[in-house]
Subunit: 250 residues, 2 copies
């Protein structure tokens, strides 16, 4: 594939990329009998955008994609449309609500977190350039296409980013199993960046040091270990709840 | 395998089944080089319980289990130890908090929901006999072993169960995308059963009819569809938050 071209597969990623209108489509192939409920919508969106739909067999798609999880839809598209950090901060106006992911490396966790972040009204997501799952086709699939609408900034250095967020007036709340601050007793209704650590190791010490406080999701019982994307969802929705209660837009 | 014998595989399911002490172990096989961090704990727990550990090769385990997701641990164990509904209600004392799953059929969603339910302090989970993912090895794996500690009741008819829960003084809160009640504005701190519908179709009409009210997790943005297990987590943790605030044990 040419430089700055990548692939996208699955019904929701392709349909949402068409709806969002942010990516250039070079090729769009459908195996119509496999696509299911959103087929007519994909034809209509492509038609509106002047994109030619090529019909293929499911086998042809499988050989293009390299596996059979394509759900009858594959496209060659432009690279993921990253946002700039300052754009994300500006989108939040008086009270930005931004997610910072410190080394979430599993594309399924990354996609699941992006999906929840879009539903909970976050203004954007920051990922580090290295040691992070990229906004790949697999991540877009795991996000049910939410990644195609999300505003994601990719930065060289999270510590510098956190300093920049602080300088813009945001509070920095880290999230970690060992966190001391009570999630449900903390005021999270103002300008906020929520920093979430990787699946295994949590927040890196240097990132932790730059946080204003470290929250933990309370857990009881003999297991006491929430899945990373579930913990992220509980954190984001507690902020959502407090923002609504404080009459911020969520 | 003999009647009332089933298999269990994966490090956390087997380690947690040993810790919980509720299942009889007929055979326990380890491929030690594959097991990782909890290996010594598994040997020690098995030793305490008088269970002989057989060493196998990873290939032997793969042929026993039928796939290679066993993480070097496999056991033949007694059937899943279901609880009775009245036991679950009694465990909640003055304010039971019970989850009712209406046709959650995906074992990964079922396992993920059980894992969160254990962390959020629920007293038990009710599933229907038909059209539900059973507490299988795959579900136990998806729950990170939480299923081995959970109290799960399997009932012939959910409508009758809901009537019984009402008669025991519980409020019945359904959860559905079309719900009218504001999750964050509803008092959920008392005796409560949370009824969650299946991945695609939500709550069945007859089940819905028996609910006192129907909650929805608020969602914004162009996608507006949370993953089933994420929505369940947000619901359970809002109840957790309110119970702690009302000085119930979570």
């Amino acid at each position: 594939m040419a430089k700055n071209t990548t692939d996208l597969w699955g019904v929701h990623p392709v349909a949402e990329a068409l709806r969002a209108g942010r990516r250039k489509f070079f090729t769009l192939c459908l195996a119509p009998e496999k696509v299911g409920g959103r087929r007519e919508e994909i034809y209509a969106l492509a038609n509106q955008a002047g994109i030619v739909v090529e019909n293929c067999s499911p086998q042809q798609l499988t050989s293009k994609v390299g596996h059979n999880r394509h759900q009858g839809v594959w496209a060659a598209v432009g690279a993921y449309p990253f946002s700039r950090l300052d754009e994300i901060i500006a989108a939040g106006k008086q009270a930005p609500f931004i997610l910072v992911l410190d080394q979430i490396v599993d594309p399924h966790n990354f996609g699941a977190i992006v999906r929840t972040a879009q539903c909970a009204g976050l203004h954007g997501i920051v990922i580090p350039k290295d040691r992070s799952a990229p906004p790949s086709a697999a991540a877009s699939k795991a996000s049910a296409g939410a990644l195609e609408h999300a505003h994601v900034a990719c930065v060289p250095n999270l510590s510098n980013t956190i300093k920049q967020l602080k300088a813009s007036g945001l509070w920095i709340a880290g999230a970690d199993r060992q966190g001391q601050a009570d999630l449900f007793g903390s005021d999270l209704s103002g300008p906020l960046a929520l920093v979430i650590g990787g699946e295994e190791k949590g927040l890196r010490p240097l990132v932790k040091k730059h946080c204003d406080y470290i929250l933990a999701v309370p857990q009881v019982g003999p297991i006491g270990s929430l899945n990373a994307s579930v913990a992220a969802a509980v954190l984001m929705y507690e902020v959502f709840r407090q923002r609504v209660a404080a009459n911020q837009s969520p």
